[in-house]
Amino acid sequence: MRNLKSTTLLFELSQPGRRGASLPPCDVPAPEVSELIPAAARAGGPPPLPEVAEPEVIRHFTNLSTLNMSVDTHFYPLGSCTMKYNSKRNERMAALPGIADLHPLAPEETIQGLLALLYELQLMLGEIAGLPAVSLQPAAGAHGELTALMVAAAHFRHLGQARTKVLAPDSAHGTNPASAKMAGFDFVTVKSNASGFVDMDDLAAKLDDQIAVFMITNPSTLGLFDRQVSEIARIVHAKGGLIYLDGANMNAILGIARPGDFGADMMHYNPHKTFSGPHGGGGPGAGPICVTETLGAYLPTPVVEQRNGHYVLATNRPLSIGRVRSFFGNVGVLVRAYCYLRTHGPEGLKAVSENAVLNANYLMSRVKHILPVPHGERCMHEFVATAAPLKKNHGVTAMDLAKRLLDFGFHAPTVYFPLTVPEAMMIEPTETESKETMDAFAEALFRITEESPELLHDAPHSTLVSRPDEVQAARKPIMKWTAEVGPAS
């Protein structure tokens, strides 16, 4: 029953003269555009966009949507991405005209309600982090990392210290080293030990007075809480460095432990993960950061402040690193995070982490009989299994398993990350899944490991397309439609 035209491109649907939108006639007396726009700037005609009728627009994109897996339709245990249920009530709140239809340069007296919300959000994020100074400006987690590293750089400049190094473990997200470089630092990788934690000897060997920041993801990308974290903080602080916490995995410790209490000086949140903002097919996110009182002076401008019951966007902050994003930030995402926090409260947030950790441990208890989980008897909100024995004995890879899971109606876990585990499958069920769903997932995984390797190498079998040729895509990249490219056979 699939619409066979669903994968026809907009450009192939185009017919001259068709159109969707209709616009009103011009209701003001004004000269023709040829008199208003300098000839040198004026184009000979509009750009060569496709011409389609409105019903076609709806049918085209609606059919395309059905080719996606999503949280609303499928179990999506994509480790590190916290694909939890996206609350519909938060969508309704964020779409209120008094929230959504505000201009970013509107006078402060016309947006007092929104500023009150953002101010309160700053306080709540600071409390959950144990780090009181907050910037809501960064547009994504990676942007938050970068902003925090710029804050650190400004801090050391102010102290007159020329520190050049940012350190992070080999299990860190790729954004950590990339952000360090963009903030002007040299990046140094610290090894993990056999248990998946920071190798303290390697850290000690690489720690000198050139360290600016040690970046740690805790709970780690292996889904483990590194008990050494306060000791790491102690020795890094002793060298004059700062601790940055990658908050990607905050879903495990809400109301349980606070980064500021276990040694972090700076952190970012991923509200689109932890606080359930919809991922939108790959964005938007947001990356608010929390820092110590001391580092607060360097946060980007503006921050929301309260003065005599009035909310203002404070810009007069002499030590600030300046601006990192136009306007205020990804307010729409922040409003959803605010709604999430207000509807959960302190007990609800703690229950989120308790059930996220319960679900992950339960699923791990089911999965570890099928695939080994090299690190840890227990996990936090996620765990990393490995298909390495399966590969060695049967030639079946993590990718094969991932692809075959799609046939069973499950989105695949994150595969081949972290880089420290061979044939890694990083599984994060989140708290918004049921025991029955996790049982069904484990059952499917078990059945798959019993299937013939040939069947798995060719999976998926039930999707619209089979495995794409990624090598060809990269070797001769086709990144747009042109009349010559046309449909493939």
Partner: protein
């Protein structure tokens, strides 16, 4: 309350299967001395109904653009959003999916990315587009970093005073860490003086960053600036207004090497500044230095056309500190909105939208400057925005009077340009009606004659 399924019975069954007696036992790896040991100091949980009431109260304290007629622009615009955009973009299969790591179950998103990239290439006249960046400001910064990377010139970038001041502020923030210098050529006449630009562009310059139409709504001579840049071995980066390309020559046709834009105008509401859409397109030879995700066409094992993320060896998850950027997301939802918007508008719709903007803005500029007190700050043609100077220098009072009468009348410019402290920026989109423009003119005209409060503004106007 949390959205979970687990009943106490479920929890007991799961704990038994794990082999522990309590949830607390699962947290044993978190040392006791690092635990919080008290409830978070947060307000108690609200039900959905209470949340709606609370947000309703907060929202009521804000003056949205349905209540105040919006003449604010400066990089975020009150353009019309057709219903089809919300209808399609709100579908859960788009809305609650994520990065297409498994292309077989993300062909919808990937095809949209590919279509978006094609639409942006058609719009800009450039060879390749990425699948989007955070917003217009970060796109401008990333374009400058790309230019520094491809030219190998890490020390100097030239820009103009007429480029969005916040974009320049972001660049200054990044450059403070990278040790590069941003040379800003002032634009006292509203647009670049070519000789002044040429005088500072040299063999050390990575690029010229220009905005056209610029922050003041004026046109820049992008072709001439591109020549200045290219003669010095530098690139030309143009920040553009997507709506303007219904009528204006495309960045690629003007000689731009990289084009960036704030994509909010293409189907996204104002949202108090975000999330928005960073558009970036460039010439083919720079694609391997481009930041952000890119969708590419390929075939599956049965030879069928399909789409994947491609050229990922540029990206942080593979290259780590050697990546082109730390960016690991796009703005998928807003790229989708832009694609739907452009499909719905088509070439004619975009041209008509641009035409309505430029004609209405022209009318508004004429109407506002009829009397002697207000004048156009720059003697230049403008697109959908223009700068008004108050000869009495009372911008704050003037805008406050507009607000009282129901108009978000303009953006005061003194915050970024001390020499324009007596000026404000007015934007006019296709949504503004003649009645609204006339109304704004009347209010500001009532102020024109006297600064004393007048109870009967309408009467005052008839007496002018």
């Amino acid at each position: 309350m949390p959205y979970f399924y687990n009943t106490p019975a479920d929890q007991q069954a799961m704990l038994a299967a794990i082999g522990v007696s309590s949830i607390d036992e699962l947290f044993a790896q978190v040392p006791a001395e690092l635990r919080l040991g008290r409830p978070l100091d947060l307000p108690p949980a609200l039900s959905e109904l209470e949340l709606a009431q609370h947000l309703g109260r907060l929202a009521a304290q804000n003056a949205h653009i349905g209540e105040k007629v919006c003449f604010l622009g400066g990089g975020a615009y009150d353009h019309f959003v057709p219903a089809v955009v919300d209808c399609v973009a709100g579908r859960g299969e788009f809305y609650t999916s994520y990065t297409p790591y498994q292309p077989e179950v993300a062909q919808g998103n990937l095809q949209v990315m590919f279509e978006y990239q094609t639409l942006i290439c058609q719009l800009t006249g450039l060879d390749v587009s990425n699948a989007s960046l955070y917003d217009g400001g970060s796109a401008a910064v990333e374009a400058v970093l790309l230019a520094m990377s491809v030219t190998g010139r890490q020390a100097k970038v030239v820009t103009l005073g007429s480029v969005h001041p916040q974009y320049r502020e972001i660049l200054e923030t990044y450059f403070a860490c990278l040790g590069a210098k941003l040379v800003t050529v002032p634009t006292p006449r509203g647009a670049a003086d070519l000789a002044e630009v040429a005088a500072v562009v040299d063999g050390e310059t990575a690029c010229i960053l220009v905005q056209h139409p610029n922050f003041f709504g004026c046109y820049e001579d992008v072709s001439a600036l591109a020549k200045i840049a290219h003669d010095a071995g530098a690139l030309l980066v143009q920040s553009f207004d997507p709506i303007s390309l219904g009528l204006l020559k495309r960045p690629g046709d003007l000689g731009a090497d990289v084009a960036v834009a704030e994509g909010q105008s293409l189907g996204t509401p104002l949202l108090y500044g975000g999330p928005y859409l960073g558009i970036m397109a460039c010439r083919e030879q720079f694609v391997r230095r481009m930041p952000g995700r890119i969708a590419g066409q390929t075939v599956d094992r049965r030879g069928r056309r399909c789409w994947v993320l491609t050229l990922q060896t540029r990206e942080q998850h593979i290259r780590r500190e050697k990546a082109t950027s730390n960016i690991c997301t796009n703005q998928g939802l807003f790229a989708l909105r832009a694609a739907i918007y452009l499909a719905e508008m088509g070439p004619q719709g975009l041209a008509e939208t641009a035409e309505l903007c430029v004609r209405k803005a022209h009318y508004a500029r004429e109407r506002l400057t009829v009397g002697s007190r207000l004048s156009a700050a720059f003697d230049q043609p403008t697109f959908k925005e223009f700068v008004i100077r108050d000869s009495q220098g009372q911008v704050e009072e003037l805008l406050a009077q507009g607000l009282d009468a129901g108009y978000l009348a303009g953006i005061p410019l003194g915050q970024w340009y001390p020499e324009l402290a007596d000026c404000f920026l007015v934007a006019v989109t296709e949504k503004r009606t003649k009645a609204e423009i006339d109304g704004l003119a009347e209010i500001l005209a009532a102020k024109r004659e006297s600064t004393a409060p007048r109870p009967h503004a309408r009467l005052a106007k008839t007496m002018v």
